[in-house]
Subunit: 211 residues, 2 copies
């Protein structure tokens, strides 16, 4: 058998290509996250990926295509990490905690990816196909909320999309604050934030406001 480094991938041509593609996407993600989409020239991306500019353009038709590829790749990775082996059809407090823990792990382990996904300036670049990547994550989450509301676990006062926006916004806000040094987050802080988010959405039996 061959050396350890080649066990998994006897590098067929297409395989090596796919590998280099990922290399470039990964580099792009990091530089984009740091300098913004319009703000980063292509050459630094090629540098960081360890390839020439010409090579980069062999793998991606344009900067715009690269942005779209990076976006879908990132969204996909986030989706996988959040939803894999998760029983969305049986919402519970424990499920919520798992979701939070996974989200936290993602934001901690791939901060650039997380930041990249939350950047504003995507939407002028994204193709319709890329934009549909969003849905792949949003729909399952929405289902989870709806079921949770039916079960009486979550408050049914918030409409599902609104509940998700609140929750997601709060999470992003907390990590954005840490990134900008308004804040440092201990594990304890993250637990408190998680519980606060739960309180916002859960069916704590306080009376309806009848105003």
């Amino acid at each position: 058998m061959a050396s350890a480094s080649s066990i998994a991938t006897p590098p067929s041509r297409t395989n090596r290509e796919a590998q280099k593609r990922e290399q470039i996407i990964k580099a792009a993600l990091q530089v984009f996250a740091e300098h913004g989409l319009h703000g980063t020239p292509v050459p630094p991306i090629a540098d960081k990926a360890g390839v020439g500019v010409g090579t980069l353009y062999r793998y991606f038709d344009s900067k715009e295509a690269l942005i779209n590829a990076a976006f879908c790749d990132a969204k996909q990775r986030l989706q996988d990490r959040l939803l894999t082996d998760l029983d969305l059809l049986n919402p519970s407090r424990a499920l919520f905690d798992t979701l939070w823990a996974r989200l936290t792990a993602f934001a901690r382990q791939e901060p650039e990816t997380f930041q990249f996904l939350e950047m504003q300036d995507h939407h002028s670049y994204l193709t319709a196909e890329s934009r549909s990547c969003e849905q792949a994550l949003l729909i399952p989450l929405g289902m989870m909320v709806i079921i949770g509301q039916r079960n009486g676990l979550l408050s049914n006062r918030l409409k599902p999309d609104l509940a998700i926006a609140l929750f997601w916004g709060a999470f992003v806000g907390v990590f954005k604050a840490e990134r900008l040094n308004y804040l440092t987050l201990s594990d304890e802080d993250l637990k408190q934030a998680r519980d606060a988010c739960w309180l916002a959405m859960s069916n704590n039996n306080s009376g309806e406001t009848t105003s």
Copy 2:
């Protein structure tokens, strides 16, 4: 007495200049909000402001200086609208509601300003002075939270900076979702969101998690 249009401002030279400055800042804000900071060339800003490019450069040393001016101006306006005549030293549910209502009004009436302030790519451009504009809003809010916690009105489990980040993030998330068409917000929705945020931060007497 002169005609009505000149009652308030007998346009002295300096006054007219200040007026034009504001014109440019306002235009810049709008174009920046739409296309991002790196993404907008200077000429379109001048166009929208109704001045020549050269003129713009008479009022601002550089694009960067214009960005900083626009940022401080926007932050200032937000701060004024949120805090004017607000008795921060006596937190209450009513005060929270007022704050939410003002924030909502701001996001509705000046959506570009709101969006501009939440854009990510500022921080590479901002001077130390501009960055300190943030503080002017954050410090009073922080005080309010601290007092609210002392009073037993707000949960003292969240540290103040974290509470603000959660609340602000949630608010931004909700309006971002609306802007990106994931959502439409009725007045009723906004009330629900407000109540949910309050639940997250308020001192609802649920037992401490002792895990």
